[in-house]
Structures are given as structure tokens and as C-alpha cells.
Point group: C2
Chain length 457, copies 2
């Protein structure tokens, strides 16, 4: 048990990370007689399940993100610090911040989640961005849209452009969602926008190292997802280990696959903070760097420290609980409740945390999705039905009423009018790998094919 | 007169720049029997009059910008090229693009607008960003919001922070709008968001070199604007020439004015393209680099070239037409109509362009604005009435029905609930000048003022 807090002072709780786990912990702690400090590098909470829609220009960043201060505005016992945690002293119960400040805690909740893992090939990151933050989403949007613009521009110059191959490395939910969304953009929403290229000729390919797309899903839904992807024209290649990522192409063993835009949806690892916290406790980690926690979400020997969400390695019924939003939210809620009991000396006899599995869903594209429903009944759904369920559930879970309305309106517009939202290219006009691809593209076979605008002079 | 176009071929019109002038020209040309190519560095048209609302987190970038392709989607005779013009051959009627392509034209419309002028001190640009693009707006938003976050963070560390002085250089409409909006954010929308700092203590100051705020407005409205600014707590200093901009402060002569965030709303100059086009024609320019055009918006001797919008120096009744949206739109429309008449050999006898002045408006803040109304009646309005007029006019002129609805909803939300929109800090966490200000800030006078979170240990 944690030592009892000195009488006459409100217990202090420091929450690190404002993802689903941290925000849910802070909101519940905000209603208790404790002082809460939440620390995050960003000033906003991001609704990660919809990040891919920002990346593919259906939604705006502001529709899936909310300032942490706004979320916690009505809890006067909470404070928000936009700063980076750079270390822990778990004996003196201190957290060190990059700015130089220190935070003392009676209870610590660490929920800094996970980040991309390039399996030691960090130089791939620039060529194949992953999708974890709003900045990532904006960058992916920029690259995908720019590829079409550059192809159109290139047609003016010499009537030829490199094939519009989009390669997505990783066939989990994020990879599948990105692939389907790119296909939708190219085939549905861009139909009438270009004069020289046909965006529908874009080719989207998923490269998955394991034998299965959506490996965490039941077999029937895996098969259905593959069928739905193929119906959209997305190629899926399983058992395909990427051995190199270069400007303009990807290597799978000896095979070279050209790519105007490569996206990373393969590996994740514990956030860097996990690597600092684990030796400070000390606490065992799994191979991804996630901290092993007991039934109360505590690293062994530290009942005052909670590790929750993606950063925690928590096993239930012999299986690791997945690193998605639902378990993180439930863990955040449990940790806050556990802290309340500990403060009142009622920690003994509390039931350990148990993940209440409501199911999993992944969208594939317009009217295409798979859903494993575990509550309130059990079912496996595919296609339109799964897609509608996905829409309803995601609107329902969006934090903030304002965003909910706005997203609903945007989706109604997009799916009824076949027009996506905000196809803005912001920032640089350089696409990594484009020049290499241009050099590799042979000149037009038929010299009669002249650029339209300079013909007929 | 331009030479007649060879029979059997549709005349080609190249429009450079997709601001208000270019887009309006392209839309009208899109209905004519010509082939139109519009070239812009960006893939989107920006509704510049509302950029400051993106900068101050009321609106999202997607709400005031629209892809050029979407705007011109329904005109099959138009094409959009996202590229940069790097030169003109006005004899052979060619436009050279950065990518290497060339565009031939029968008629050329140049509408590349203006950019910031730092009066030769380009090194100030990084310390005092201006407001012309979505990228600028996002950067200003980042800096303004970050200043409050850093102050709050600093209070944790040593119970002291540099004064939150925001200095805006330039007292034209943009400067006034930025000043009022920062004041609104600090005093209204952030009220309950911070625990250690009082955002309402923020001090906003406008430094204007000339003797008048809103110099282009009638005197009574100038005076009213100053009164309204003062009521919001904004300081205005006229006749104040900025002699230096440094990290953390601004110099006005010998006086040093501390600033956590300096914004530039002072000078504008013709876009770089003007400097290329003028010698190629050749054409005289004014001191800002704007091209002198005749009554048909042509540089002398080039009836096939139209220079419109901010890039043109066009005088009417002995006064230069201002570089704002209305004249640009009217010029775009006129140029397209003139091209149609020239094609049909009906150019002779056409009335020269005349700017139809409907008035000017500048918002100052919530319920505060000035409006010089010139049509359908003449009036000078101030305060709430001017502000409501401003709201209605700006929603009405927003290109795109979707955006209009979205902006209306957002404004209703903001002004009724006292909550602004999307206060997201995206990108770096560095604020230029902050460290210099921190060093200049004395330690707390009263050593008993300890940081809250480490007190009572």
C-alpha cells in the first residue's frame, strides 16, 4: 500500500500524457478531493481513431482535437502543463520537466502511449511517415495530394508521369483505413478534378509481413476485409517483409516496388518516456518497451504508480489487452477510482482491473468496414452494416459536443455529395522520391502524345 | 489591339494567381469559348479577409480556403496547374513554369497580389511574421497561444513570467483586427483556462508609423476605431516608427518595448512575380513594385496582358484603388469580359474599368467594428451595428456554400458561448525571443511566492 497522505493536505496526482488514458483519468480525478496536474507535450487531446480521416482530407484537425485546457476547464482542481517530462525520481516522488520545473506527486499516472517503430531503421521515417499526431496527419495529406498534383503538372511538361502507386507498409487497422481512404479519394472524390491524369488509375497496395491482414481480427472478418479491399482495387500482399525503403521505391526482398508515396502503419513501440520510467522504478518491459503491470495497473512494488493505455503491458485471460482507445479509457477510469479508494484507505479487497471488451472495428472505405461486436451481443459484421455502426460509434465517442456535430455534418456532406472536405496542401511542395521516380520514368512511347497546352501552336 | 486569334483554334488564356482577382477571372472565363489555365503555387484559394480569424483560432484553415480544383470543377475548359511561374516571354507569349513546362497564351491575366515588405529588413520576418497565407496564420496562432502556455509553465518553475506584451506593427485593418482578436482571446475566451496566470493581464499594443490608425478610413471612423480599441484595452501609438525588431523586444527610436510575440501588419509590396513581369513587358511600376495599368487594366502597349488586383496600380479619380478583395474581384471580372469582347472583335468603344466602391469594413473585436458604407446608401457605422454588418457581408461573400454554413455555425458558437474554436498549437514549441525575455525578467520580488505545486511539501 502507498503510505497514507499527511493529514491536512490534499493528495497530489500527476498525470503524464493526455491521450485516452490520461484524459479519462484526469476527468474522473477532477471530481475528487485531490489536486491534479496533467502534463503533455501538446496542448491538445487527439481523437486518434479518426486521424486517418484528417490525413485523407475528410476532416479538419480541429474536428478531432480539443485543447486539454478546454476539456478540463470545469474542474478547478486540475491544472494543465504543456511541457515534456524528462525524468522520474520514484523515491522522492518527483517528476522532472524539460522547462526545469519539478512536480511532486502522491500518485502518478503515466499514459504516454506508443510511437512508430521502424525496427531500428529510423532513416525510413522521413520516407514513410506514420500516423500518430496531427502533424503526421497533415504531412500524409500533403504527400498524398501532392502526388496527384505533381503527376498532373508533369503531364503538361512531357505527357508522362510515374505510376501513382501508393504503398502502405502494415496491414493492421491503420494500414487498412489509410489504404481504403486513399482509394476512395482517388476513385470517388477526385473524379472531375484533373484534366490530364485519371486519378482512378492510382494503385494502392498494402504490404503486410505476417500472413494476415487485420491479424487481430477473427478469420471470417479478415477474409471479408480482404474481399472489401480488393473490391476497392486495393492490392494486399501478406508475408511481404519490407527490407528497404528508398526515395521512390520499397524493397521486398529482391523485388523493387515503385511508390510515389509510402506510408508506415507497421510497428509500434512504447513511447520514449517508458524507457525512462522502467529503470527508475524499476519495472520489467516487454519487447516493445511496454511496462508490465499487475492487476491494479501498478508496476510491481509501486502501488502509487499507475501505467495505463498503450504503455502498459496488461494480460487478461492469457492475452495482452490491445493498444486501442477502449482499454486505455477503461484503465484511466480504473486508475482514478483506485486512487480514490487508496486515499480513503479502502484499497484492500478491490477487484483488479478487467478490460470490458465491446468489440473492434475497422473501416475500409465508403460503405465498407468490418466489426467484431462483443457487447451488447456478439456478432461479426461486414460491409455497409459494419460501416454504419462504425460511424455511429465514432460520433458518439468524440469528446466534445461541438466536434460531434461538426463531424456529423462533414460526414453527411462527404458521403452524400461525394465531395471530401478540406483538400488543402499546406507547407512544402517537395515530395520525397518524386525526382528519382521521374528519372526512372521512360519518355512517352508515342512521340505524337504532346502536352496538351503546347500542342496546336 | 491584340492580333486576332487564328481561326479554328480556341483562344488560350493563362491566369497566374488564384486570389480574388484570378479566381473571379477564371470563373467568368470558364463560361466562355476559351481554354483557361490557372497557375498558382498553392492548391487553394484563401479567403484572406478572414485569415486573422484562423490566426486567432476562431476558424479552421479549411473553413476559409478551398481547393482551386474544387472551385473550377464544373468548368471543363479550365485546367489548374499547381506550379510556380518563373518568367515571361511577352513577345512569344509564353509563361515559364518552375517544373520546366511552358504555357502559351493568347491572353494573359496576372494576379499574384502582394506580399509583406519589411522595408529591406528581411531578417525581421522570422521575429515578426505577417499574415498572407494559411501557413502564416497557423504560425501566428502557434506563437500567440504558446506565449500563454509558456507563461503558465514558467509560473510553475519560479512563480514569475515575463509580461505578456503583444506588439503589432502596423495600424491598418489587419493590425487592428489582429490586436482586437488577441485581446478578445485573452480577456474573454481564455478566462477559465489557466490556474497560475491571468490571461486578461495580457497587453496588446499597436505601433503605427503614420499619424493615424486605419489611415485609409474617414476621420470619424478612425477616431471611433481608436475608442473601441482602447475600450478593449488595446494601446495604440501613432507616429511610432519601429527602428529594430529583436528577439523579445522592439525598438521605437531609443525606446525598447518588450514583446513576447511581435506581429507584422505594416508594409506590403508587389509579389516577386511583378518584378519579373515589369521588365519583360516593359512596364512602369510604383514604389511598391505594382505595375501601372491603363483603363483597360493593360500595361501600356500590351492589350493582351491584364494586371489586376493588388499587383496593379490603378488610379481612379486621382486616387489609387486600394489593394483589397472588392477591387480585385471586379478587376478579374472586367478582364474576363474584356477578353471576350476582344475575341469577338468588339473591343473598341468598351468603357474602361471603373471600381464600384461599396465601402470598407474592419472588425475590431467582439461587437466592435467600423464600416464606411458607400452602397446602397452612404453611412459611417461603428460598434455593434458595424460588426453585425461585417458578419453578414463576410458570410455572404465566402466562396462555397459548405464553408458559409460552417463559418456561420462557428461564429454563432463562438459569439454566443464565449468559446473560440480550435485552439490547437501545431508544430514546434519554441517561441522566438522567449529565452531572452526570461533572462531579462527579475526573480520574484517576494520570496514567499513559491510555485504552487511544490509548496506545502
Amino acid at each position: 500500500m502507498a503510505e497514507p497522505v499527511r493529514a491536512g493536505r490534499r493528495p497530489r496526482v500527476v498525470v503524464v500524457g493526455a491521450g485516452f488514458g490520461g484524459i479519462n483519468a484526469a476527468m474522473r480525478l477532477g471530481k475528487m478531493a485531490v489536486d491534479v496536474t496533467i502534463v503533455d507535450k501538446k496542448n491538445h487531446h487527439t481523437f486518434q481513431p479518426l486521424l486517418y480521416q484528417v490525413a485523407l482530407a475528410v476532416l479538419s484537425p480541429g474536428e478531432i482535437a480539443q485543447p486539454i485546457r478546454s476539456i478540463l476547464r470545469n474542474y478547478p482542481n486540475t491544472e494543465v502543463v504543456m511541457d515534456e517530462v524528462i525524468g522520474f525520481d520514484t523515491k522522492a516522488r518527483r517528476v522532472f520537466l524539460k522547462s526545469g520545473a519539478e512536480l511532486l506527486y502522491d500518485y502518478l499516472v503515466v499514459a504516454t502511449g506508443s510511437t512508430h517503430s521502424y525496427f531500428g531503421k529510423d532513416e525510413w521515417a522521413k520516407l514513410a511517415p506514420g500516423l500518430k499526431t496531427l502533424e503526421d496527419a497533415t504531412e500524409i495529406r500533403r504527400r498524398v495530394l501532392l502526388a496527384f498534383e505533381l503527376a498532373e503538372r508533369q503531364m503538361l511538361e512531357n505527357g508522362q508521369h510515374p505510376p501513382l502507386n501508393f504503398v502502405i507498409i502494415g496491414g493492421g487497422p491503420t494500414g487498412v483505413e489509410l489504404a481504403g481512404a486513399i482509394s476512395d479519394i482517388a476513385k470517388l472524390y477526385m473524379r472531375r478534378d484533373f484534366r490530364h491524369i485519371n486519378p482512378a488509375m492510382a494503385q494502392v497496395m498494402i504490404l503486410e509481413g505476417s500472413p494476415h491482414i487485420l491479424g487481430a481480427y477473427p478469420e471470417d472478418l479478415q477474409a471479408s476485409a480482404v474481399r472489401q479491399l480488393h473490391a476497392l482495387g486495393v492490392q494486399t500482399r501478406t508475408g511481404s517483409h519490407v527490407t528497404d525503403v528508398q526515395p521512390g521505391f520499397v524493397m521486398v526482398g529482391e523485388e523493387k516496388i515503385e511508390s510515389v508515396c509510402t506510408l508506415w502503419a507497421a510497428g509500434v513501440q512504447a513511447s520514449a518516456l517508458g524507457k525512462m520510467l522502467a529503470p527508475a522504478l524499476p519495472c520489467e518491459t516487454d519487447r516493445r518497451g511496454c511496462l508490465l503491470v499487475d492487476g491494479y495497473l501498478n508496476p510491481v512494488g509501486h502501488p502509487e504508480v499507475f501505467v495505463i493505455g498503450d504503455l502498459a503491458h496488461f494480460e487478461q485471460d492469457g492475452k495482452q489487452v490491445p493498444g486501442v482507445a477502449q482499454p486505455a479509457m477503461q484503465m484511466g477510469n480504473y486508475a482514478a477510482g483506485r486512487i480514490e479508494r487508496l486515499i480513503h484507505g479502502k484499497g484492500e479487497g478491490q477487484k483488479p482491473f478487467r478490460y470490458f471488451d465491446k468489440g473492434d472495428m475497422a473501416t475500409i472505405g465508403r460503405k465498407a468496414a468490418v466489426a467484431r461486436i462483443a457487447w451488447p451481443f456478439r456478432a461479426h459484421w461486414s460491409g455497409f452494416m459494419a460501416w454504419v455502426t462504425w460511424l455511429v460509434v465514432h460520433i458518439f465517442f468524440l469528446i466534445g459536443f461541438r466536434n460531434r456535430l461538426s463531424v456529423f455534418r462533414q460526414w453527411a456532406y462527404t458521403y452524400l455529395s461525394f465531395q471530401d472536405g478540406v483538400r488543402l496542401i499546406v507547407g512544402s511542395q517537395e515530395l520525397p522520391g518524386w525526382n528519382e521516380l521521374m528519372e526512372a520514368t521512360p519518355p512517352p512511347v508515342d512521340p505524337a502524345v504532346e502536352p496538351r497546352n503546347t500542342s496546336g501552336v
